[in-house]
Amino acid sequence: MDRELSRNERIKEASAYLRGTLADGVAEAVTGAIAEDDAQLVKFHGMYLQDDRDLRSERTRKKMEKAFAFMIRVRLPGGVCTPAQWLAVDKIARHYGNGTLRLTTRQTFQLHGVIKSNLKASIQAIDAALLTTIAACGDVNRNVMSDPNPCPPRMHTAALDLARAITDHLLPRTPAYREIWLDGERIIGGEEAVEEPIYGKTYLPRKFKIGVVVPPSNNVDIFTHDLGFIAIADQTGEIAGWNVAVGGGMGMTHGDVGTYPRLADVIGFCRTAEAVAVAEAVVTVQRDWGDRSNRSHARLKYTIDDRGLDAFRAEVERRIGFPLGAPRPYSFTSTGDRFGWSEGTGGRSHLTLFVENGRVLDRPGGPQMMTGLRRIAETHDAEFRQTPNQNVMIAGVAPEKRATIEAILHEHGLDAHASLLRRNAMACVALPTCGLALAESERYLPDLITALDQRVTAHGLERDEIVTRMTGCPNGCARPYVAEIGLVGKGPGRYNLYLGASFDGSRLSKLYAEDLDHDAIVRTLDPLLAAYSAEREPGERFGDFMIRAGFVARTSSGREFHENTGSQRPG
């Protein structure tokens, strides 16, 4: 690989371990932005420079720069936090953010609308709550996901322990974060003394995502991660070890068939004591083999397709010094959450609440979720767990607290039931804050679901679960290519429709129709829902039916994603 390195590689190289000119840029009061190169580096610190795209033209007229603000993403392995941490983040959002919380598809908090002059205060408050934002974004290991299901409890604990161990092991070691945000002392000339034993000076070629899951639930969408660990139980229900899956990833670019979503391949099995070493080896092979010249070809999935899975596995095994075991049998049922109360151990129970598109807010004249969850956090004494589907679980509720929590939910309008279609839907943030968005997502999906709910009900499917996911661009934050109904923004008000993914997250979808507006989406899906209702076999899922009935071709691997697209049924 002697091709020219991508711009980001030079920025990282010159950044003195992620410092760049961030400290000066953050202090510069006359602009709400930071320098272009620093905007790349700040991601490694868990922040994105964004602007309110709704206001762009108005502000040009007013001779004001774009309405810049930062998105802050917290690092929260497995989505688990204490009530005190929930309260701290809630307070930061109200004081410095836009007054809402966003629960993400990777089980963590995002705060939007934090202006530059409030960044340090926000990060310091996050630090005071024993949380961090380091490596929540950027070309590093991101937030490690873990199955939030409490059952079976020992498996859940093992999964969370592994997620945390991997997180700690793969954290960047640079003191830049402490220096810039927490007023840590900068040691003059100390840059040379920094060691990033795993990442080196230029970190990874691209973002890196890891998940840990406990079958039969695949709520973590394990095949969409660069690296996944699938819990395998022994006969006694204890953890025997982990199947290792590599090479998943969602992102692609419209019109570039060299880019495609890919699902991870299971390459072997390891013991718990070996898992962190396996993670490090997978990360360092990608560090050394990944494409640093072309960022849209830099994820591990392309490294593996270019080098071959066998060569990749062999190199991982060479680095860990032992062969991986043969993959153990496992099976998944669904990627969704179980809503409502479930029983845990020691008489404690867990409540999973639906949070539409992960947006926690007080709706004027509607449900007061921000306030309601704050009230619960004030009385609750165990944990909050964010789910991979942007929902929240109030975990470990003592029997005597159940009534209190239910009363708070009722009082704040949080006990209404959403339709099954809505509960199985999720959207990325998109407009107005995300710089990548080509179309609406979070702000539009609720209306689309309302329209689709009518068609679903008309065809008698209101008791069926169908997974719908929408993103404002093809990068795939809401994992649309493993949704049974995937909608990906193409331009303002226009979406590509993907169908044929499996309900358990084990098969990618296929492009069915392009550039659909709202009416066309409903018009296109209506006959498919009708056919599903009339022709399906018992227990057959919508995504599976789409393929069996011949509406779309099956996608068996990422490289086939762009082949045989479009409707496969004449007329």
Partner: protein
């Protein structure tokens, strides 16, 4: 130049004039309003003026961006050594805008700044500001 809110209007003209004339010398603007994002009036012009050297310094106070309210007088206090230094060097102190609170608060803060930086008693500090006024170096257009 201390011109929060619409009080910034004459200073925009000051800076435009100095730029047109290629005026040498230094100038310093304290601007404030409610929110950085929505109320930073003529933001792009101030950025250009800074880049071109038509404006030497700017300090900003946005009162609604944080739980604690911050006004221009607080920014003057934070930089009181430089402010007094500039005045000792012959600078003029212009104030434009709200007569009810801002103008009084800014003047009181300048008195405090003199007292602190020059280790003066309250009366001597008051006298220092009065001398500026008498010498037409503390000038106000407040309403």
């Amino acid at each position: 130049m201390v011109g929060p809110g619409t009080g910034v209007a004459p200073f925009r003209a000051f800076v435009q004039e100095r730029r047109a004339l290629g005026a040498p010398g230094r100038n310093w603007l304290f601007f404030g309003d409610r929110q950085f994002t929505h109320d930073f009036l003529y933001q792009l012009e101030w950025q250009d003026a800074l880049n071109e050297g038509a404006l030497t310094r700017i300090n900003l106070a946005f009162s609604r961006d944080t739980p604690e309210k911050v006004y221009v007088q607080h920014r003057i206090w934070e930089r009181r050594r430089d402010v007094i230094d500039w005045l000792d060097g012959g600078a003029r102190f212009y104030v434009c805008g709200d007569v009810k609170h801002m103008a009084k608060d800014v003047r009181a803060m300048l008195v405090r700044a003199f007292a602190d930086v020059k280790a003066l008693g309250p009366e001597a500090a008051e006298q220092a500001v009065r001398e500026l006024e008498d010498g037409r170096r503390y000038l106000q257009d407040v309403y």
